[in-house]
């Protein structure tokens, strides 16, 4: 919502490391390889992965493989990278190569199953998951993946069996709880589904799919008011998630796009997802550590949430060390005005006049324009795709 305020020069802000890169595939038990030219490139590739710079990660991974084409761990790494990039066919090929070179990698190869499923190749997905589970019966992601895929195939009893195993291994694993609830609804056991879905909601309160399944369960149980409430919340969360997914997709291809990152942090704020908002704002601050507009943006986001006092505090702290930052003074003027602090607002306005020889500007809060390509799905359809 605060894009326009910030967008102009943010691309020039120097890059900084992201804070919350996804986990890379863990190597099955094997000793660490000795340092080699391939290792050097692989190290760079892994760093890029941690920064969510998947194109770079792939490029460096391929370069590492040129040095040593027989490295199963690098093939597996590429499989994970390509899965994140939603290049499912390529990911499968990488995983196939990894397990061909070292079958131990089957233990971690569930993303290939997700890829088969995302491509609509459900039978192939089930076969692959079974190989993964043969190598590692406690692989909860594989258990969830096969459970979801079997549910799609209408094999509901088997689906339930695998999903219950996933939940037994990790009772707090919200995606498996959701999937189990879904399968139970399709088995006409909506009453049994609700506790699993409610638990999933406790763990992941911002997941629209959980609300969707809850609405179906309540509907089946004749609890119309609850069904409507869940459906309404699903719509709200879905809309927010569409924005978030789009921004995350944008950051996949342009990981240093600070304006997209600011918009993402703001979207988490508006959703009320404190944890992800904080993490993303931390990344924003790391990337734009000397840019007052970042602080102004954060303040505007806080203001929209009704946290005007925190917004003012944030700006004041910033201005203590960056007293000539006009956008921050603009924001402070606006925040104070919104709080009814006429005197304080005038004080901020005076700084703007002095520093910029103009009147303070009300920060524009246009609705973020989502320029997602035509018809691309908002979220990865693969089981296990991170959300």
């Amino acid at each position: 919502m605060i894009q326009r305020l910030l967008s102009l020069a943010l691309a020039l802000v120097p890059a900084a490391a992201a804070q919350d890169g996804p986990d890379m595939p863990a190597a099955p038990s094997q000793s660490a390889p000795s340092r080699s030219p391939a290792d050097a490139r692989f190290s760079v590739a892994r760093q890029a992965y941690q920064q969510r710079n998947f194109p770079r990660a792939e490029q460096e991974g391929l370069a590492a493989l040129e040095q040593d084409p027989k490295r199963a761990d690098i093939h597996a790494f590429l499989g994970a990278v390509r899965y994140r990039m939603r290049r499912y066919g390529d990911s499968i090929e990488s995983w196939k190569k990894a397990v061909e070179l070292d079958p131990k990698w089957f233990a971690e190869a569930q993303p290939a199953g997700h890829c088969y499923s995302a491509l609509g190749k459900h039978e192939e997905a089930v076969a692959w998951y079974k190989k993964v589970l043969a190598a590692k019966p406690t692989n909860r992601e594989a258990l969830r993946g096969i459970g979801i895929t079997l549910e799609k195939l209408g094999q509901l009893d088997d689906s339930e069996k695998y999903l219950r195993s996933a939940v037994a291994i990790d009772p707090e694993y919200a995606p498996a709880l959701l999937a189990l609830g879904r399968t139970l609804i399709k088995k006409d056991e909506a009453g049994a589904a609700v506790p699993y879905l409610e638990k999933a909601k406790q763990i992941d309160p911002f997941e629209p799919d959980i609300e969707y399944e809850l609405s179906l369960a309540f509907r089946e149980l004749g609890m119309d008011a609850k069904a409507r409430a869940a459906s309404d919340r699903q719509k709200t969360l879905q809309s927010q998630r569409t924005t978030i997914d789009t921004l995350r997709n944008r950051l996949l291809t342009a990981p240093m796009d600070l304006s997209a990152m600011v918009a993402l942090a703001d979207a988490y704020d508006q959703m009320g997802d404190v944890k992800n908002a904080r993490e993303t704002w931390d990344r924003v601050f790391a990337l734009g550590r000397e840019d007052g507009r970042v602080r102004a943006a954060r303040a505007m986001s806080l203001l929209q949430q009704g946290s005007a006092q925190t917004a003012e505090k944030l700006l004041m702290e910033w201005l203590r060390t960056h007293g000539t930052d006009v956008p921050a003074w603009d924001a402070l003027w606006f925040v104070r005005k919104q709080r009814g602090n006429v005197e304080g607002a005038e004080e901020a306005a005076a700084f703007v006049r002095k520093l910029a020889q103009r009147e303070p500007q009300e920060p524009k809060l246009p609705k973020l324009e989502i320029t997602k390509p035509a018809s691309s799905p908002a979220s990865a359809p693969a089981p296990g795709a991170d959300k």
Binding site: G120, Q155, P208, I370, P373, S375, S376
Partner: protein, 563 residues
């Protein structure tokens, strides 16, 4: 969940090996439909979303000679459209002999479109012939037929002045007053003077692509009430707001059909929206609508997924007397098949074996048709991508794609993907598709428009010698086309239910008949027709293998109809 739904889940999943079937034979060369579709300058370069949706196909008997003729819409280039220059324009093709068409465009007066999209066909003036509406980038154009396939364009006089980008349209009688009304799905706002730039942050699979629909302004839909003739011209009044249609959120409408999903005697409207939840406008019988897709379970696909709807089809797949709705959509999304259990819809595409094979495809025109005339509806889908960039590495899909045929394997509740076996795997840039019996052998043939070039004509040679029955409905109290009539056919111990609505698929209009495949039956026991007016006609002991004309009120029902 109802018992039927439980059975649906519980019955065996796997199907036996593919039955021996014939093929859809490409007879395009002999058919001679040389229309040259043009949506943008070239297939390999798609800079704007305006250039990717393509045109529609209409199948109807335009000249009253008893066989089907073909109407094709056509596009242009953005530059020509911006300059107000005529586009390639509509074409009409008279069927002179089975699968032999002659260009009748010049003498029929159908030219004049700047950029045509969808085609809707119905008898808007109740004079016994079929008229044609073209949904355009710009005001809809209405071509009134003189019965001999000579048309007069009366769109503006009839009340169509809305300049928005309309995609699909459907004639139906919303208020059962005997005059056809019109629903128009509007896609999005596209500024010709400032077209959205290609690429930049508009990326797909890491590749720059044309922009939209997201990021472009959504639009509301239109509803026009037919109010009858004024000085000999059909007149429509815009009741988009008053009817409740425009009260639904703005979205990106593409595919449209009407159906009486709740069997309450009036026509409801289903809209496949691109990248947004679908709409189901529920009719109160008087032409007032409430959008209830989310409430009824057909706004989202399985797992609550928001899909990118393109084409739409409706029909009773499982013989329970209720209609399923299919929606084709984007690559990496399974197409949807919504089953209605009498209370709610649920997407069963994956469980039916349709979800998986349609996932890599981007679907457009579609139809529930009994392709092999065995008495169960199958599903035909025309596919191809919107992005030429789909041919670049790493996309898991292709720009040109084949069509698909899913055969209904009743009593096993799983469809068989017979696409390759039926000869449909040839990759092309398929778009709209219309279905109808072009050669009078009882099965439905297909004409598929392409994004560029001449359409494909597919002769259905899947089976031979199987029985069928087609009904041509003529309303008297109801609209003359009989659109919205619900037909209940009893034969061989089974009851089949169908509804007359040519408008479905993608931007297309199918043959104006209600058709049943009847296996090896020589006779149907009974046909009951519930007309939009409420009139019920029943006829008994009907020989199969014929097209039967039924006029409203000619066979009054003697006892209350069973539901």
């Amino acid at each position: 969940m109802q018992l039927a739904a439980l059975l649906w889940c519980a019955l065996p999943q796997a199907t036996a090996s593919a039955p021996a079937i014939g093929r859809f034979v490409d007879v395009s060369a002999e058919a001679g439909i040389l229309a040259n579709a043009q949506f943008g300058p070239a297939p390999e370069r798609k800079q704007w979303i305006l250039e990717v949706n393509g045109g529609g196909v209409g199948l109807f008997d335009g000249d009253g000679d008893g066989d089907l003729d073909v109407w094709l819409t056509n596009g242009s280039t953005l530059e020509a459209l911006r300059d107000g220059k005529p586009g390639a324009g509509n074409t009409i093709w008279r069927q002179a002999a089975p699968f032999r068409f002659e260009d009748a465009t010049k003498e029929s007066g159908v030219a004049g479109s700047l950029w045509g999209n969808g085609v809707a066909i119905g008898d808007v003036d109740n004079d016994g012939d079929l008229d044609v509406l073209v949904a355009e980038f710009g005001p809809e154009r209405l071509f009134v037929n003189d019965g001999k396939m000579h048309f007069t364009e009366v769109g503006e006089k009839a009340g169509f002045t809305d300049p928005r980008w309309s995609s699909s349209a459907a004639f139906f009688d919303a208020d059962a007053d005997g005059v056809l009304d019109l629903f128009v799905g509007n896609y999005l706002r596209f500024d010709l003077e400032n077209p959205p730039p290609y690429g930049g942050d508009s990326q797909w699979r890491g590749k720059p692509v044309m922009r939209g629909p997201r990021g472009l302004v959504r639009d509301t839909n239109s509803f026009y009430r037919g109010v009858g003739l004024r000085e000999g011209l059909p007149i429509f009044e815009d009741r988009s707001e008053a009817s409740g249609i425009a009260k639904a959120p703005a979205s990106y409408a593409l595919g449209v059909t009407t159906l009486d999903f709740d069997d309450d005697g009036d026509s409801d409207i289903f809209v496949a929206n691109d990248s947004e939840p679908y709409f189901l406008f529920v009719n109160d019988g008087k032409g007032n609508f409430t959008e209830k897709a989310q409430e009824l379970g057909c706004a989202l696909g399985d797992h609550g997924s928001t899909n990118s709807g393109m084409g739409v089809a409706a029909g009773d797949l499982d013989g329970d007397g209720r209609f399923e709705i299919a929606v084709t959509n984007f690559s990496n999304q399974p197409d949807n098949v919504f089953r209605f259990d009498g209370r709610y819809f649920s997407d069963r595409a994956s469980m039916l074996g349709i979800g998986g094979p349609t996932t890599p495809m981007l679907g457009w025109g579609c139809r529930f048709l009994d392709a092999d005339l065995n008495g169960w509806l199958d599903l035909f889908i025309a596919n191809s991508h919107v992005y030429p960039e789909a041919d670049l590495p790493g996309t898991d899909t292709r720009y040109a794609q084949g069509c698909q045929l899913f055969l209904n394997q009743q009593p096993v509740k799983r469809f068989l993907d017979a696409s390759a076996q039926a000869g449909l795997a040839v990759p092309r840039l398929h778009r709209g598709a219309a279905f109808g019996d072009l050669d009078g052998d009882g099965d439905e043939d297909v004409i598929v428009s392409l994004l560029h070039g001449a359409p494909i004509v597919l002769r259905n040679d899947l089976t031979s010698g199987r029985a069928w029955l087609a009904l041509e409905l003529r309303g008297t109290k109801s609209n003359r086309s009989g659109v919205g009539a619900r037909v209940r056919l009893t034969a061989g111990g089974r009851v089949r239910v169908a509804e007359h609505q040519p408008a479905s698929s993608f931007q297309s209009s199918n043959e104006p008949y209600v058709r049943f495949g009847l296996g090896d039956l020589a006779e149907a026991d009974e046909i009951t027709i519930r007309w939009p007016s409420g009139t019920v006609d029943t006829i008994r002991k009907i020989k199969t293998r014929q097209r039967l004309v039924i006029t409203e009120g000619s066979a009054p029902h003697q006892s209350p109809p069973e539901k």
